[in-house]
């Protein structure tokens, strides 16, 4: 680097001397001047260095571009995966676990409802059996009353027969009637006793059926109540499970959204690569142009032509810039910050 600076200094001195000499007096035509060797040396050095520097710049630019592109692709992959996970997670909660749970609750409710209906029908049957039992009791009482009436009628008919016999011939016909009445009363008594016996047997059967029905109804009551409690417990457990999954899923979703946002922001920040690549491309072009300018300066010095105009050369380099910060750095000689994005609508 020190050699290069020395050579560039010599070139500047040589160019300056040539320029001054060119203005004041014509140069000796075929004379080999001491500066010519320096100029040739610097020109050759610049011509050799420019491609090396350009290659170094291109190598750096290519490596950075390649690395940032890979990084960007990986980040983009992460964002896409997160989007997939988020969509899948939302779908699972809406249509998966939550929907399955709601459907299970509804179907179990229907099953328990069917059991409740069957139990209600059974309770109604038991109530009707109780009514039948009450009616049977009333029938037994009535048959007892019929027996009592028959016994009383029998007694009255007996008295009538006795009275008819005491009257003699005149009461004979009445005595026949009284005997018939007494036979009817006996017959009624027998019928009422048979009826009482049948009603009693019917009552016993009804009681047996009622007792069995009440026992099974109680058992089914307890079974359905137990089933209800079990179903509710299972539903509560499932609800707790779904809530847990939903909470975890919500936490994961929030984390995924946060990560997605940060990765997206990182991607946005990677735009620096595009800008740096352009700066490096312009720098590479400037290096090439500088070597050409040095060569041209040497040619001019050797031909005693007017020296190159540095301002013109710098302006040509400046014209190749595309970004404001490049122009700013070019003008100020200091690093320039990145400008805010601007939007213009036509």
């Amino acid at each position: 680097m020190a050699e290069l600076l020395w050579a560039l200094g010599a070139l500047a001195v040589g160019l300056g001397a040539g320029f001054v000499a060119g203005r004041r007096r014509p140069a000796p035509p075929a004379e080999v001047r001491p500066a010519d060797g320096h100029i040739a040396s610097v020109t050759r050095l610049a011509g050799s260095l420019a491609p090396v520097w350009s290659a170094q710049i291109d190598s750096s630019r290519t490596q950075m571009e390649s690395a940032v592109s890979r990084l960007t692709e990986q980040f983009a992959g992460i964002v896409e995966n997160l989007d997939t996970v988020l969509a899948s997670s939302a779908g699972a909660l809406e249509d998966g676990h939550g929907g399955t749970f709601d459907r299970s609750r509804s179907r179990l409710g229907e099953v328990v409802g069917t059991l409740d209906d069957a139990l209600a029908t059974k309770r109604q049957t038991v109530a009707e059996l109780r009514n039948l039992q009450t009616l049977n009791t009333e029938l037994r009482q009535m048959s007892g009353e019929v027996g009592a009436i028959a016994a009383q009628t029998n007694l009255l008919a007996l008295n009538a027969s006795i009275e008819a016999a005491r009257i003699g011939e005149a009461g004979a016909a009445f005595g026949v009637v009284a005997d018939e009445v007494r036979q009817l009363a006996d017959h009624s008594l027998g019928t009422s006793e048979r009826m009482a016996e049948k009603v009693g047997r019917a009552g016993a059967t009804i009681s047996a059926i009622l007792g069995h029905a009440e026992e099974t109804a109680d058992r089914e009551d307890r079974a359905v109540a137990g089933a209800n409690a079990e179903v509710q417990a299972v539903l509560d457990d499932l609800q707790a499970l779904v809530n847990g999954v939903r909470d975890s899923s919500g936490d994961l979703e929030r984390a995924a959204v946060g990560i997605r946002s940060e990765v997206s922001q990182s991607l946005t920040n990677l735009q620096f690569q595009d800008r740096i690549c352009q700066v490096l491309e312009h720098l590479r072009d400037s290096v090439t142009r500088f070597a050409e300018t040095v060569a041209e300066a040497g040619e001019r010095a050797r031909a005693d032509a007017p020296p190159i105009d540095p301002d013109e050369a710098l302006a040509a380099i400046s014209a190749s810039y595309t970004m404001d910060e490049e122009r700013e750095a070019h003008t100020s000689g200091r690093a320039a910050g990145v400008r805010e994005s601007e939007i213009t609508f036509f």
Partner: protein
């Protein structure tokens, strides 16, 4: 089915950044790596908006806009130039070629989406 946007940039990372922002907002995205490649993408398919860089190899963005506008199917397709370029002269050239907006890099995704939604409904 979202609206389709063609993103043209020679920088793969810029294409990814723009694509992610647009996809996140519900747009479908196709990509072109320079003007020439992007013209091949304009094969009659329905494209609602184009976002193009300016300085690209093979065919620059302003030439691409002019060429795209010659195709009847894309004559009225809005085009946003997304570039590091800040020269007024280039802006005028882009406007003359048929671009509707000029956005300078580095951009924030929200800014880009705002510009897009101004030109096409989401």
């Amino acid at each position: 089915m979202g609206k389709t946007i063609l993103v043209v940039d020679d920088s793969a990372s810029v294409r990814q950044v723009v694509s992610i922002a647009l996809k996140g907002a519900g747009y479908d995205v196709i990509q072109g790596s320079d003007g020439k490649d992007a013209l091949k993408q304009l094969d009659g398919r329905r494209i609602h908006l184009i976002i193009s860089d300016v300085n690209m190899p093979n065919m620059d963005g302003i030439t691409f806009v002019a060429e795209a506008k010659k195709l009847p199917a894309y004559k009225f397709t809005p085009i946003i130039m997304l570039t590091t370029e800040s020269q007024e002269e280039k802006k005028k050239q882009a406007q003359a070629a048929g671009a509707k907006a000029w956005v300078t890099k580095p951009f924030q995704p929200e800014q880009m989406l705002a510009a897009v939604s101004k030109l096409i409904a989401p």
